[in-house]
Subunit: 350 residues, 2 copies
């Protein structure tokens, strides 16, 4: 297969972990006789230094024509701590999601038995956790109209959803549940929000056309509780942009392995693959970042194109690195292996 892959390293540890994914994809290319063309492009705070814009036009154009995008991470402390910054790196990511129509973020949260002890939760609670969050990614309060009054004393964000935005991701979630344990949980705040009531109404209707899937609804506050008390109860979680942001980060941490989880953001014509974790600027350049989340996101990329055997080869090599304890410090508490070394080990074992 021939694939053109856009590489957006982004900020902080993004470029370092992405480089390890590229090693792995090159190993796949060779072993399985594919042709991958990699094109790097500036994105995030790093792009702002040159162009003043986190998503330069050329970067967007590249992403539009590429078959897929591998993305590292975005965000920098300078902007986080400056509420008055007019432009900020995250806007680049939000615009990219919107322009490419990446309306569904798919975030699998599955226990790695090797790291059961790393979970902050007790073993009997978290063992065998295997769920996937479908987070709506191009609507809601992230993209609603924002206002700041002229005197700067009042600010607002609009959370708006349409039936069609809700139903397209709902169908993805129900279809995914068919191939899994056949359960969908909608998370909303329908006792307070009008937009949540539209979610509940729309998804309840859709559920009727999937009679073999069991369907339930939870308020977000209760979902955050259930995620800690009994994460095994969940199979597919469906939720909006803001709740999905919170719940997926919460979900990732119950595994005790924020550095290990990949995700996919998909639309009708494009797809982007990225780690769960953020840019972690404090670790930048130190060769300590865990490359596994990014490497597994490149496996998700291969899967997206039906290259299951290839994806499995990456996953197997990652598991080998776990067994041999060739992992970064975050996973074991201490380790002599750096980002680079772990990336080499995994790619050489493909």
């Amino acid at each position: 297969m021939q694939l053109k892959i856009a590489l957006l390293g982004g900020d902080g540890i993004g470029p370092e972990v992405l480089a390890q994914s590229v090693k792995c994809l090159k190993a796949i290319e060779e072993t399985f006789n594919h042709r991958f063309e990699f094109v790097e492009a500036p994105f995030g705070a790093i792009a702002m230094t040159g162009s003043g814009r986190p998503l330069p036009d050329e970067t967007l154009a590249l992403c539009q024509e590429a078959d897929a995008i591998l993305f590292g991470a975005i965000g920098a402390l300078d902007y986080d701590n400056n509420p008055e910054a007019k432009v900020r790196p995250e806007q680049g990511l939000l615009r990219l999601r919107k322009e490419l129509g990446l309306f569904a973020s798919i975030r699998p949260i599955k226990m790695f038995p090797a790291f059961l002890e790393n979970s902050p939760l007790k073993r009997n609670i978290v063992d065998h956790t295997d769920l996937v969050i479908f987070r709506e990614l191009t609507g809601g309060i992230y993209f609603g109209k924002k206002t700041l009054s002229e005197d700067g004393t009042t600010a607002s964000d609009l959370c708006s959803y349409s039936e069609s935005e809700i139903s397209r991701i709902a169908h993805l979630a129900f279809k995914a549940a068919k191939k899994r344990r056949k359960k969908v949980t909608l998370v909303d705040k329908a006792n307070v929000l009008e937009s949540s009531r539209l979610w509940r109404k729309t998804v309840t209707n859709i559920a009727q056309s999937y009679p073999d899937i069991s369907f339930e609804c939870l308020f977000i506050d209760n979902a955050a509780v259930q995620m800690m008390l009994n994460p095994r109860q969940f199979d597919v979680i469906l939720t909006d942009n803001m709740f999905g942001d919170i719940l997926s980060d919460q979900g990732s941490v119950i595994l005790g392995s924020v550095g290990l989880l990949p995700s996919a953001s998909v639309g009708l014509e494009n797809a982007m693959f990225e780690p769960f974790h953020g840019s972690y600027p404090q670790a930048k350049g130190k060769n300590i970042a865990n490359p596994v989340a990014s490497i597994l996101s490149s496996a998700m990329l291969l899967q997206h194109f039906g290259l299951d055997e290839e994806a499995n080869a990456i996953v197997a090599a990652v598991h080998k690195s776990f067994v041999k304890k060739v992992v970064t410090t975050d996973v074991l508490g201490s380790s002599k292996y750096g980002t680079d070394y772990v990336g080499d080990f995994i790619s050489e074992n493909i």
Copy 2:
């Protein structure tokens, strides 16, 4: 002291747990020679059956003239599962908060050493957790304009905040921190939301007038992670209405004792005291609900009026019930004691 206390039992287990608080307050009245006048009023789904309204005018009027309000819980399954209901019980609670100007919900989350093993988190993580959440309660997306398009296919909620709404609760939080471990953490999503940036700017300015308090900011997704990895890092958490809803429920569950935590909702002229937990309709009338959260909220009521000795008497009696294992099933996994018995035990030990 003479106090007129409005009693709003509300829905589900609300009235049952509230009745135990009243027993305790009556014991205090007698022992310490106070005069408490209790007046019950309908509220929630139960009030809708009669008047069609979750907050009848007479109930509101009573709350306005009372010195304080003791509240049970609100919410019923019929409404939760009906996204088309025009009126719902929660609206009564939201309106009550707004009409009384209860702009700050204060939710202390402190480990009970006796129940350390109940936490879903590992002991070394959660031990000695002692934080308090200041949640803004009368603004944000809970109260912003809601719309539903005429054809019912688009819905929206507005999240709006003004500087003055933010600063009045921020000052409460900083003042509380002065008497505690001198740290305030603002939780927001300033990398995405305009309203969050107003929070960050306003609170950062206010922080400068409290030079002895250390101040930091966290994004909500990261805060949800930190709450599970290291809750001890927090002293006072300050946040908006929606994030506070999620984070406080998440915080309560790390203690493994959702049935034990009280809260206060305060304004300039009124104050309401209530358990963290919800109406738990499944347990209604079964005499299994844990009354301790409600009983401890009556202790917060006493404290609010400077009756520290009295509040301590309640807390001491609750601790005695822990030591003697006179607790409900939720706490011990199984127990022969019901709601009523536990309430009797605690009130008799005051």
